[in-house]
């Protein structure tokens, strides 16, 4: 929680494994407008690398920040994706 973003929508993919975090994020950003920020909350440790790779290779999105934390004794990964164009 070092930085705060003006989050438009939050996508909860906790408990879901590859490919679901990326696939559901891809579907979610299609529903958003330029400048919107999507927060993706995952428990899949692979989501750190996978969502970064997805944001890097996909047009119209930018990864603002990725945070690793712990909630209720469980590792939780938060990703902030901006829709750019």
């Amino acid at each position: 929680m070092s930085k705060t973003f003006d989050v438009t929508e939050t996508l909860d993919v906790k408990g879901l494994n590859c490919p679901m975090p990326v696939a559901k994020t891809g579907q979610a950003v299609k529903e958003l407008d330029d400048g919107d920020v999507l927060e993706v909350v995952a428990t899949d440790s692979g989501s750190m690398s996978d969502l970064a790779a997805w944001a890097d290779s996909t047009d119209g999105v930018a990864m603002l920040d990725q945070e690793e934390g712990e909630e209720a004794g469980e590792a939780v990964y938060r990703h902030f994706v901006e829709v750019t164009a």
Binding site: G15, N17, C18, P19, M20, V22, A23, G26, T43, G60
Partner: protein
């Protein structure tokens, strides 16, 4: 001699002007040629689908473990905005078969990663046992089911194709497949998309 010089200059100017006219016409023709070529190239680029990355996967296996890779890659590629075709043939058709897809088996035989020797793995109950163990694990770690991945892929615009020749060969009916699966396609359709693709995989 002094008179020749301006005359020579005038002549020189005349020649230069004529040469200039000729060059201009040639240049205009050349520019027209190039314009046509560039237009042709941009038409070809438009026909090729701009700069969208394309992927074709050929799925030929119908075991539980081999059903996952094509669906995981296809649904992820769709999230990247790629144009994806998965061409299912032979036992790969079972992945698209609504009933069979819910009952795909993991084979214990011929798999050196299995914790039992082949002689034991060949016993009649082993396939269903290893399948049950795998399904339990899939459920525990939160991995999506085959059915969920098919629905996700179709929702994300992946073209799941069922090879017509093998549908006939396996005695399947078009009605057996999930809604949204493309039928009535063959090797030529697959090759056409493979030729246009940036990524081609045989699984």
């Amino acid at each position: 001699m002094s008179a020749d010089t301006p005359g020579g200059d005038a002549g020189g100017e005349g020649t230069a002007a004529t040469a200039g006219d000729v060059d201009l016409a040639a240049l205009q023709a050349e520019v027209e040629d190039l314009r046509e070529q560039v237009n042709g190239m941009s038409d070809a680029a438009d026909a090729a689908g701009d700069d969208q990355t394309q992927m074709t996967i050929i799925a030929t296996k119908g075991t539980l473990d081999m059903a996952y890779p094509p669906l995981i890659l296809a649904s992820t590629a769709a999230a990247f905005g790629w144009d994806v075709v998965v061409f299912h043939t032979f036992w790969g058709l079972d992945i698209l078969h609504e009933e069979k897809s819910r009952d795909l088996k993991l084979s214990a035989v011929g798999n050196p990663s299995m914790p039992v020797p082949n002689a034991v793995a060949a016993l009649p109950f082993m396939d269903s046992m290893t399948t049950r163990m795998m399904e339990k694990k899939i459920d525990e770690v939160g991995t999506a089911s085959i059915e969920e991945l098919i629905e996700l892929s179709l929702d994300s615009g992946v073209d799941l194709q069922a090879c017509q020749m093998t549908i006939d060969l396996m005695d399947y009916d078009e009605e057996d497949f999930y809604d949204g699966v493309t039928v009535g396609v063959g090797a030529a359709t697959a090759l056409q998309h493979m030729a246009d693709s940036d990524v081609q995989l045989l699984i």
